[in-house]
Symmetry: D2
Subunit: 410 residues, 4 copies
Amino acid sequence: MSLDTSLRDAIAADLAETVSDYEDFHRSPELSMQETQTAATIAAKLQGLGLDTHAFGGTGIVAVIENGQGPVVAYRADTDGLPIAEDTGYDYASAAEGTLPDGSTTKVMHGCGHDTHITVGLSLARYLVDHKDLWQGTVVMIFQPGEETGEGARAMLDDGLWDSIARPEVVYGQHVWPGRAGHIYVAKGTAMAMSDCLKVTVTGKQAHGSQPENSVDPIVLGAYMITRLQSIVSREISGREMAVVTVGTFHGGLKENIIPDSAEFKLNIRTFNEEVRAVVLDRIERIIVAEAQASGAPEPMIEEMYRFPRCYNDPATTDRLLEVFGAELGEDQVHLDQPVTGSEDFGAFGDDIDVPYVYWFFGGYSPAKFDGDEPPAGNHSPFFAPDDVETTLETGIRAALTAVLSSVGK
Amino acid sequence: MSLDTSLRDAIAADLAETVSDYEDFHRSPELSMQETQTAATIAAKLQGLGLDTHAFGGTGIVAVIENGQGPVVAYRADTDGLPIAEDTGYDYASAAEGTLPDGSTTKVMHGCGHDTHITVGLSLARYLVDHKDLWQGTVVMIFQPGEETGEGARAMLDDGLWDSIARPEVVYGQHVWPGRAGHIYVAKGTAMAMSDCLKVTVTGKQAHGSQPENSVDPIVLGAYMITRLQSIVSREISGREMAVVTVGTFHGGLKENIIPDSAEFKLNIRTFNEEVRAVVLDRIERIIVAEAQASGAPEPMIEEMYRFPRCYNDPATTDRLLEVFGAELGEDQVHLDQPVTGSEDFGAFGDDIDVPYVYWFFGGYSPAKFDGDEPPAGNHSPFFAPDDVETTLETGIRAALTAVLSSVGK
Amino acid sequence: MSLDTSLRDAIAADLAETVSDYEDFHRSPELSMQETQTAATIAAKLQGLGLDTHAFGGTGIVAVIENGQGPVVAYRADTDGLPIAEDTGYDYASAAEGTLPDGSTTKVMHGCGHDTHITVGLSLARYLVDHKDLWQGTVVMIFQPGEETGEGARAMLDDGLWDSIARPEVVYGQHVWPGRAGHIYVAKGTAMAMSDCLKVTVTGKQAHGSQPENSVDPIVLGAYMITRLQSIVSREISGREMAVVTVGTFHGGLKENIIPDSAEFKLNIRTFNEEVRAVVLDRIERIIVAEAQASGAPEPMIEEMYRFPRCYNDPATTDRLLEVFGAELGEDQVHLDQPVTGSEDFGAFGDDIDVPYVYWFFGGYSPAKFDGDEPPAGNHSPFFAPDDVETTLETGIRAALTAVLSSVGK
Amino acid sequence: MSLDTSLRDAIAADLAETVSDYEDFHRSPELSMQETQTAATIAAKLQGLGLDTHAFGGTGIVAVIENGQGPVVAYRADTDGLPIAEDTGYDYASAAEGTLPDGSTTKVMHGCGHDTHITVGLSLARYLVDHKDLWQGTVVMIFQPGEETGEGARAMLDDGLWDSIARPEVVYGQHVWPGRAGHIYVAKGTAMAMSDCLKVTVTGKQAHGSQPENSVDPIVLGAYMITRLQSIVSREISGREMAVVTVGTFHGGLKENIIPDSAEFKLNIRTFNEEVRAVVLDRIERIIVAEAQASGAPEPMIEEMYRFPRCYNDPATTDRLLEVFGAELGEDQVHLDQPVTGSEDFGAFGDDIDVPYVYWFFGGYSPAKFDGDEPPAGNHSPFFAPDDVETTLETGIRAALTAVLSSVGK
């Protein structure tokens, strides 16, 4: 059940080149739904393998590797970077810049490790093409843009992905995280949190900074809202349930001596189940509406920006993968884990056509880092990047091949 | 003690042209310390009267009208607009744009009425030049930039104003406000609030939006700070003292699912005396430092951005002006008023050379507006502009002439 | 216009006895509307002067001193103590106890100096009786209970005071405070704040302390209400207006591991005019109702406990008193002062029958205390009591006699 | 492995009498550590079975049932009521009153169902005495006072329980809760939360209600503390960890127009593990200390009132009980459950002598109530009491016998 020696040898032999590819991607992150250069590079490399590539949802790239009769499986990698100024100090650190939807400029970083995902996905395609003797069937390679904004999977699906591309019977995907390099972590059932994103526009009444009595102060109102929102997790949800309510942005006011006429903040909400999600969303609305009333302000506008769906690992498929990962990587390297509070739009590829899927994590840190004095940086930190790149990528490639070949291997 | 008939006739005869000049200035506001076009227009008009003009502090313009032996007096008008999108609906409303120090673009409006100040100042110069028979001495005309940011008076003074220009024995100035057109309002002693402006940079620790436990959340911290700051005015200052603590801006976060590593807010503080000011500033620091400790955050950076000095109307001079204003405009049109909570850097022109000064207000609204169903818009509102422009300007010009001639008139 | 030498001599000769009386009253304070022993002592002393006494409103005592044809004036002293544990350290400090309306026991202290008011009132009566040669007319001596709770004046008036007792043409009263002993302080017009007292009952839903999700937590709700109420004074009222919103009590919960089903707090509001008062009361209700909605709680019950009326010193009478006080005590000892934020029900005695009244303050501290390193304790502090008792009482008596005789003196 | 028919028959035959005993206990609750009457009744009933009784920790009662050679096991029931006014409407509802440590009077209710625990414990003793043919060994019956305050187990242990009474090899105990009558619920490993209780005394500075500027307001300070404490659970602890921070009481102020000099609140904290507990306690202290600094108040006093230890069900013993409970009650009636957020001092009986223990729950509600429109009342609610008393008690007795006989049964 473990990988053929020829594959392991190839992975090892190519590792320096693979790391070099990774560093190139790391240097050149692009913001969500703007991954034009990244998509072009991916398409070129896939075409170099003799594959046709198809664009979906703008910057999404798909290649289908056909190899005779047999099961159809899909493997998905995501490709976008984040508006973070990298602070890792690596010599291949990013100095890239990008333009946010509001027109402002920002530094861009592969702060969530999607560069490893692209690299691993391309390696997977390469080995599947090079070793057709070892398997039979069809593998759909999906390079998805815009995961960070929850737009990408939806964009590809709405662009007709499963109407024109062979539908798989199972979908696989994986994510790097601050675990031990060489290790795999997977949850059974609920694997990642649902995520809701709301934009709240608070309307006040402008006045001179010296005359608050003539204003409805939207900054003070917003501050009271945010302190009040803390009571949802602390008082409205059982301590045994998972709920996170983050106010990730707050913006109001142009000049210190003018009380502005509005302010805006954005919420990110994480929950593991629909009941808790419904309570959290209800309480957010209740608090925002009531706080506006307390200020004599108009009812604020609450807009849903996007929603990350569930990511529910099919239990039977998860059990099967736990077994084959253990056989390939060693049982001690494979961990059945709790669900994580992060979110993903990966699940949509399976849920949209009602086929099972599994999403797992692979670690990125050497023992020196992982067991160091302070916990290693997590995803979305300006310090996040694997320090043991070789082991990280090698493990990701072996896990991807193991999963895919567990479905289509001979 | 009232104005000579020849002056009154001239003002009335020129009124249509004066209003037209006002509308031109109203259409073309410029942001603080960027008043290059405005300054050029002012200088051209003064030169058209045969006066030499001198630049101080960049966009500040000074002209000295000499007319033989006699007292030296100064009259100051300020010239800058505000980053507000005008919403008055007047056909001469501003559509101007400007660039803020942070590089962002904004609409610009004469939202504090400095266009009336320029217009009145130019008329004053004109009539003083045209009617030298009525007075004797020297009048220093000061057109000051950057009043809104508290930079302009300081910039002109630091540029050597009183080193190269004749020092006055008294300084006059006035401001339009939402009072009755045709009326003058003046306080004796403390006339306007001191104003302090602070910038607070809150440092947190960045993390993924789903993992607040790995962050120090600067937005939640900022919100607690802002709600806590409310207790200064409500609990730390006597109800009989004036204190206003406004948080005019609050900005943090780029993306809803990243807890940012910092947030920033700006405070504007108004007080009437040094004792209260000291308590307010002390409490602001105490609260900001302690709240950061409550979050386990580093000590925030608190920077003084600028400070508006006192504006203390010399009591004897104020009494004299009350008398001559009453004689010129009618006693019922002249009001001894309370100090206002707004601030000004006008006082620096006198305080720097230790000479007395008086600053008064002239109203901008017709009875229909002033006594309407809702209170008329105040300064810094997108709706603020005189509706009875003719009376407003005429009154401003007569008050300016009355004050100046009370010192240098024959 | 100053006091006859015979009066001054008598005051001086009696001073040791007067101080002794004061110490007795200081040792034996009683809570509001429970001043039975105090009332009995007052009545006995008045009867000892040969006067008839009349009870109004339970523990209120009135005596009428008639002395022929002439004006009728009234003088009022209040008599109740406070639920404070005295901490002055004087050997005549109070160890008294009392029972609050809720049945609980408390230490009681003359923490607002009403013991000086009683003592001065009794001395005034004594000298008026002993020196009938110096005046002509009628003086109504009012010893009012329950000033601290705002009940006493209303209780006496509702009990028919002015129906059965000669109506005065002017009412006088005075209060000791932390000013200089020997000095008098009086405001013209608005003399003291209006005071409103509200009781708020917050209804939540009880649950086990480990299960906040099954509760509506009234303590957390109350805390958010109280922090939100701070924004009224800080944001809704002009910095130039006086408004104080104090939450003087907050009580909820019996056991730390039970989230209670209700909590209660009491508000005390001070304002100088009806417009500001109306805004403050409106905002309090708005905030309390909205915060309950934010928690999904029922609408809280807001009850008016009592209201202290205005205390508006008749301007003409105030001018007259300033003159006679200056003549008697020295001009430097008499101060025209700002209105104070404290409240009084004294004004009702005049307002109910539409006659003028004046209420002034007399100081209680020696120079050593008044000019000491830290400000002397104020009224309602456990440390408040005159340290120069002799000068304090002597000044109070002279001021009372001066005022009364300015109306009825020969 | 199920109970002998003779036992089941006896339980059924006695049920009316058992229910009657329960109702008597329900009518007569006593507050923690004051259970003198309850203890006397328990002791009398045990003595009626021919057992000697021993008092430990004041109102704790122990009886040892000896029955030849064999294992020693202990069974514990707790006996105290709560300061809650019962609102169940049952005709056997409590009207009892009690006196709290602070001297105030309160209604008392068996609001946590300890009356069922006493009743079941006494029945267990009775059947063990009556059916000695069915078992062999020693059973220690513990009737513990003061569970609600965390004092009782500690008091009995500190009074030398295990020095003078036979030490068991396993300890059993159970608790009624709002589950289905007839059902048993048990967690493996962590069974209940740790609980910490803190008392916080906030010191301010007293002043008249109209002069907040002379005070340090401990009620406003307390309110800011409580709103700030909400951020611990919402921001400092992972959404996947259990933490509850409840402020169960807040008391400050005696009179609405005096800002008091102190306020006091009590915290109840629930956590499942030591790491989270340490973070929560650290953050509580950090916030309380910093908020006091923000107010310029002295450092508040934070006192540990008591701590409930862990309650960790021995996994092997739990597995064994799950099996025998399933055999006796039906597999569908026995549930392996999550840990609960409530706390218990039961675990101390085992942890103190390092022997395993298991603590389980039995339901109290009929299907009509359990599946009704709204969730049935939980423990510590004024509405909490089993509605199907017969099934509840019968199930509790059968579970207790099953557990005990699984250790000592023949």
